[in-house]
Amino acid sequence: MVATTGGPIASDAPAKGRRPVSRSFWATAWRRLSQDKVALVCGSILLIILLAAIFAPLITPYDPYRTSMAGRLLPIGDARHWLGTDELGRDLLTRLIYGGRMSLFMGFAPVVLATLIGGFLGIVAGYCGGAINMLIMRVTDVFYAFPSVLLAVAISGVLGAGLVNSLVSLTLVFTPPIARVAESVTTQIRNQDYVEAARATGASGWRIVFGHVLSNVTGPILIYASSMISVAIVIASGLSFLGLGVSPPNAEWGLMLNTLRQSIYVAPMNAILPGVMIFVTSMSMNLISDSLRASMDVKV
């Protein structure tokens, strides 16, 4: 995650480096972040999980779907299956690595979508003000007035299980809070003197939005969105845990937790293993988000 957010930050630095002494906001933030040990460790963990998931076929010795009636629920530490096998005799390590694909996707994709949609709505509402603001923000308030898990479960439950439906419901859950952040920052910026000055010198609305609003809104939205990813991973896995996400035999941490739950008395250690992955991923993302907030020195 550090690597991906690092991209734009790092490439911004030389462009703004024309000014000799002062460092740009993004460069400062990146510098602080790269000196933050917690962020580096967590970033490395996430990167390893991500790379392992991407290159899963190359590094896993087993087929994640091949079942074996004889080798069901082998214990952790088995000579051939290091992390044991699941209730159908599939290699757990292999499935955990493959599971990262769906679980990480379901953590990041809804937040990215919600950031784009919510950011757009928030900026429009904040910049236009008046009736448009009223309309957008009151609709946002309504969706914000649901407990997040309940809203996700309700929409997924009504639409039915499946990847796309989970994606839709989670995006709908995360859009309102992001729209709120975007709206409040935009409204603040819009009333700043220098924006007034820009408008007075004849800058167009587009220019103000892209030149001033966007550059100010990006930081807070990014931080807020990064803190949402950890929540998204937990809720998305929760949806599949309830049987509302991807369907078997797909490997996904929440779903694996759900099917292994039946064997909790037989092989308790195997049963809780997928949850460790969810926990580690969500915790790493949370800590990175905290570091990001500290490095950008923004209060959301």
């Binding site: 009151r138 407990p147 898990v149 929409i155 950890s230 929760g238």
Partner: protein
């Protein structure tokens, strides 16, 4: 002040109406004809006719909505497809059970959170502070349904000291204030308490540090006030925020209990929702979500009002 309270209440009304509209729309979001979604399989023509009339699906949507909300306000949420009982008689007891779990979880979370937060705030930068911070980040990151499973493994499977499922002896669905019921409550309540505990610890820590930095605290120290008397000032300043967070967390837990309830087979709203989803019992689904979200809106409003009463600085009128 009164004006502010009044405005705040008036502001909640359109939100509540919007929330009810979303709940109403849910049934129309379902794939296929909404009528086929509410008709049980192999229903007799009389049942179909009765349902058609009850839902008024032949009428335009706004009229359907007004009919639906009018009945809902009077406590008529329709009939469950599976049990053929009124939705309210299913949702009512479930809400009570969820409320018990949520209150227990928030109470636990409050105890842990405040204790840890004060310890960390007073020792900011120390090892204790770091440990507490680690605990509170874990608390907000941990998938609580998984924590539930871990607790089951430890206390029910390995140690065999606490029950893993249900609410009382022989799968009873009513809570009694006795030892058996309490034993059933312990594990799910702990599993659900970690999120509020983490959030409260974090916020208490922040508030304590903030208050200790204030000039007047220095004055209190300077005039020779003992530490425990200064502590009273810290608590006074932290209380409104912590109470607000507790209220909001209680509201979130009411709606978010579905996962933990599923793990522990706790007969609350989450369990009911889960069953309703897999039996496609849309009236139950809709009724449960409407009731829970209305609770959520109401608790949010109460928290807001309470906070503005407790903390004069928030009077934003």
């Amino acid at each position: 002040m009164l004006l502010y309270l009044l405005r705040r209440i008036l502001y909640t009304l359109p939100i509540a109406i919007g929330v009810s509209m979303v709940c109403f729309a849910l049934i129309h979001l379902a794939p296929g004809d909404p009528l086929s979604a509410v008709i049980p399989e192999g229903a007799s023509p009389e049942v179909i006719a009765e349902l058609k009339a009850a839902y008024g699906f032949d009428q335009p949507l706004p009229i359907q909505y007004f009919n639906w909300i009018w009945r809902a306000v009077q406590g008529d949420f329709g009939m469950s497809i599976m049990t053929r009982r009124p939705v309210l008689s299913e949702v009512g007891p479930a809400v009570v059970n969820t409320m018990i779990l949520a209150v227990a979880a928030v109470t636990l979370g409050f105890g842990f959170g405040v204790g840890l937060g004060i310890a960390a705030g007073y020792t900011a930068g120390s090892v204790i502070d770091r440990i507490v911070t680690a605990i509170s980040v874990s608390g907000v990151s941990v998938p609580h349904y998984w924590l539930g499973m871990v607790l089951i493994v430890i206390f029910a499977v390995n140690l065999g000291v606490l029950p893993a499922m249900g609410m009382g002896a022989q799968g009873s669905a009513t809570f009694a204030l006795d030892w058996v019921s309490l034993r059933h409550l312990i594990l799910p309540a702990i599993a659900m308490s970690v999120i509020p505990a983490g959030i409260i610890a974090r916020s208490v820590r922040g508030t304590v540090i903030e208050v200790l930095k204030q000039d007047y605290v220095q004055t209190l120290h300077a005039k020779g006030l003992p530490g425990r008397r200064v502590f009273v000032h810290v608590v006074k300043n932290a209380a409104p925020t912590v109470l607000a967070i507790m209220g909001l967390q209680l509201a979130q837990l009411l709606g978010g209990s579905i996962l933990v309830e599923t793990v522990f087979s706790w007969p609350g709203t989450g369990f009911l929702l889960n069953t309703a989803i897999f039996t496609r019992d849309l009236p139950i689904l809709q009724g449960t979500i409407l009731v829970l979200s209305m609770f959520f809106v109401a608790i949010n409003l109460m928290v807001d009002l309470l906070q503005s009463v407790l903390d004069p600085r928030i009077k934003r009128a």
